[in-house]
Subunit: 300 residues, 2 copies
């Protein structure tokens, strides 16, 4: 937490590698983390792209330990710590704060559908109070398509009123720019991260903080370049390039595709592995993806 | 597993009590477990009604230990052990088998939506193979409204072919009787449990095994009576009574309502507590519920 702005910019929801037994592989994980951070990215481990919910709390704690042991800057990490079980969320959030993480990205508990606003407020509130650490910075994770549990403005307002300085921002993966824009307008100082690189320029113009998106695992430098230069005349063209890149990835099983491309980049085919229910990218899809990228002259 | 039929009949997805700190309370848990089993019910701990996904793996292991330590018949237990993380599902399933549970009720990993059939097959398959214990009996948990991840017939057929004798049955909480009927017809020996007491008579007539339903926490004896007498002429009338009872509970936040009624029955108001995102039953709803039950002359 040395640098309060350490969590702006572009963060990669870093992929999780597995060994042949499907156990998370710290060595490959630290290699990718170092590679992404050298590019200037922050990290959002244990997000959706990281298969975060396919990992147990002890597995996630061990991977955080590995990042720390490798001497990586923990203040630029925003691990996902929101689980279905209150006890898991508290344990993992506390662990992340004690490891020096700059923030945590918190899903609401996502098994029960249509929870009341009081229930969701209590879910976040209990975690914040039990962790009870002024260093805690909570970024809410709004991804209604996946979690099925949206973070409403009414909920954000209650949380900001109850925990100013702790509730720090949101990752909005809904794809709904109007929602991001209205949060930027309504909550000054609340950091809004677009969950897609398709919206880097719009969200920065609206006053947002940056972007946390799956594709940062393979295309981070271009995303960072657009983020840094959003005020410049070239920004429109850079955003258009970004949209073209995104169109190429569209329709692919995203996590498996990112793992396949990481395997190609590193020459380490163990990267292809996923935990169920996800499955590795079929070879024919990989060939198509590589062809598409080649035709568009995109080098990763 | 001394009695292979121990898991027929009516099972209660037993409520989980908490102390004032919202820590699971083994003492109250064992009291309710004993009460329900004395009524002749089996138990399905850590189901949806049990707030199973709001508990961590160590919390669930501790509650299973408490049931065992109380000398309750573990062969009549079917704890929920399907988690989002493969490692959690394996650890908890192994724990349940080693504790002598007659079966486990397994949700698919439910964070990722629209998983492929291969991915879901791998999810169940990896747990079964890693536990690798011939005593394991897996009951699939089909609850598409809540998990958003349905268990299709194609998946059941692949699992039955790969793991005969291990994949033992299903709890179908979809409410779709046609689905239950067609499973009873298509998979001889595969135990189909209706997830609602509204379908006890229809599912028994179709060749089903019984019922696992939230309301067994408060109305188990009547459910068991109907299950035992489904071939008798009175069965239609008993099912009608059951439907009337169910109509009374309809529209109530079910888990909170069951906890409030358990608090009234035992005089122990700690039973009202829920973990977020669920909230306790508001007093006005409790008054209405008690009035409705009174008017219908239902004594719990």
């Amino acid at each position: 937490m040395s640098n309060p702005d350490a969590l702006g910019g572009v963060l990669a929801p870093i992929l999780t590698p597995y060994d042949a037994e499907l156990v998370p592989d710290s060595e490959r994980f630290v290699q990718l983390a170092g590679h992404l951070m050298e590019q200037g990215l922050g990290l959002a481990p244990f997000g959706t792209t990281s298969e975060g919910n396919s990992l147990s709390v002890p597995e996630k704690a061990e991977l955080l330990d590995a990042l720390g042991a490798a001497g990586l800057e923990m203040g630029r990490m925003m691990p996902g710590t929101g689980c279905c079980a209150l006890s898991d969320s508290v344990a993992l959030t506390r662990y992340a704060v004690e490891a020096g993480c700059g923030g945590v990205l918190m899903l609401p508990p996502f098994y029960y559908k249509n929870p009341s606003e009081d229930g969701l407020f209590a879910a976040f509130s209990e975690v914040i109070q039990r962790v009870g650490d002024p260093r805690l910075k909570v970024y809410l994770y709004h991804f209604p398509q996946q979690s099925q549990v949206p973070i409403t403005h009414a909920l954000i307002e209650r949380l900001l009123a109850a925990y100013p300085g702790i509730v720090a921002g949101i990752k909005d993966s809904s794809g709904d720019f109007a929602n991001m824009e209205s949060m930027c307008r309504a909550y000054p100082g609340f950091k809004v991260f677009a969950g897609t690189e398709r919206l880097i320029l719009p969200v920065m113009r609206a006053g947002g903080a940056g972007c946390i998106s799956a594709n940062a695992n393979i295309h981070g430098p271009a995303m960072l370049d657009l983020w840094r230069r959003w005020r410049e005349p070239e920004a429109e063209a850079l955003q258009k390039d970004m949209d073209n890149f995104r169109a190429i990835m569209e329709g692919m099983p995203l996590i498996a595709a990112l793992k396949a491309l990481t395997a190609r980049r590193t020459g380490d085919y163990g990267w292809r592995r996923t935990r169920p229910p996800l499955t590795a990218l079929p070879p024919e899809a990989e060939i198509e993806l590589v062809e598409r990228l080649g035709k568009a002259n995109i080098v990763l």
